[in-house]
């Protein structure tokens, strides 16, 4: 069940419509400090249902919306879509492509969509149950997770084994 592409608009520093294709086995992302690389990781966590703003390096969830610069006003909403190639039918859906979308409006309202049809967050969770895909997966690794493993804060190591069991 592979990624096909990620579409970002209005999310953190990605004010403009941006598409990233993931067709290869190993995709590298490079660029200067502050250019937006970790924001791409945040976008993937977010669209998979991340609810803890701290995991996205934010004080509050509304901070994911592009907050404007000297020359451009803040965005009205943040929207991220992650498209999976489902040709092996791993996901219990009848399509070759499965697209999950998450939207957060400045008003605080949020929306989830599955193949462009509005759904609830729990529909997205149950879609991915048992596939090992989720925002809290041990497969999204930054230096914070390495530190938590080394400090073993709150029995982090045991928790990870329980999760994988």
């Amino acid at each position: 069940m592979r990624f096909s592409r990620l579409e970002i608009k209005g999310f953190k520093s990605f004010a403009n419509d941006t598409v990233i294709h993931f067709n290869e086995n190993v995709t590298g992302i490079v660029g200067p400090n502050g250019s937006g690389k970790s924001n791409i990781v945040d976008a993937i966590r977010w669209v998979l249902g991340e609810q803890k703003s701290a995991e996205l390096r934010l004080d509050k969830m509304s901070s994911v919306i592009f907050n404007g610069t000297k020359n451009k006003k803040p965005a009205g909403m943040a929207q991220v879509s992650l498209i999976f190639d489902n040709t092996k039918n791993i996901l219990p859906v009848d399509y070759n492509e499965v697209k999950i979308t998450r939207i957060l409006y400045q008003s605080g309202e949020s929306e989830y969509r599955l193949n462009n049809v509005t759904c609830r967050l729990k529909d997205i969770y149950s879609l991915f149950a048992d596939t090992g895909v989720g925002s809290n997966t041990y497969a999204i690794i930054g230096f914070g997770m390495v530190e938590d493993l080394l400090n073993n804060k709150d029995n982090y190591r045991r928790m990870m084994i329980e999760q994988a069991a």
Binding site: T27, V30, G36, N39, N71, K72, Y138, I141, I161
Partner: protein, 164 residues
Amino acid sequence: STTKYLEAFEEVRENFKMVFRSLFTEDDDCDLVITNPGSPLESDIGIIAKPKGKRPQSLSQLSGGEKTLTAIAFLFSLYLLKPAPFCIFDELDAPLDDTNVEKLNKIIRKFSKESQFIIITHNKATMAAVDVMYGVYMEQQGISGLSQVDFRSFEHDLVLERVS
């Protein structure tokens, strides 16, 4: 249930010994232990890591790079128990020396037949090891842009000679 957890733990432990030795060396000592075997579901887990004949009394005595590599070995041990369809590494290679960066990228290459890997890096050797590379940049002040990059011309040879 306790049985399910203990089975998972044993498998992760076996994986850990294997992965740790491929990231360090074949005759390195390592283990995972349930510190309180009497109540495994409440007990925390200790990591024993003794690279290359050293005898550190705890993980905290290891160097920055050794600790990072040990944590990566633990994460790959979980991965082998239950492979995730994708893995994202955000600058995990930053504290590693050239040899360890190469070992990490070899393991990634090996597992990338089963899962997709997305690797964020500033490291030239890692850049040379990926299949496709995207460059993120600040298109205008404060706004990110994306572009595919080509790695055509790249040399990063470093020759260090001992002079004394």
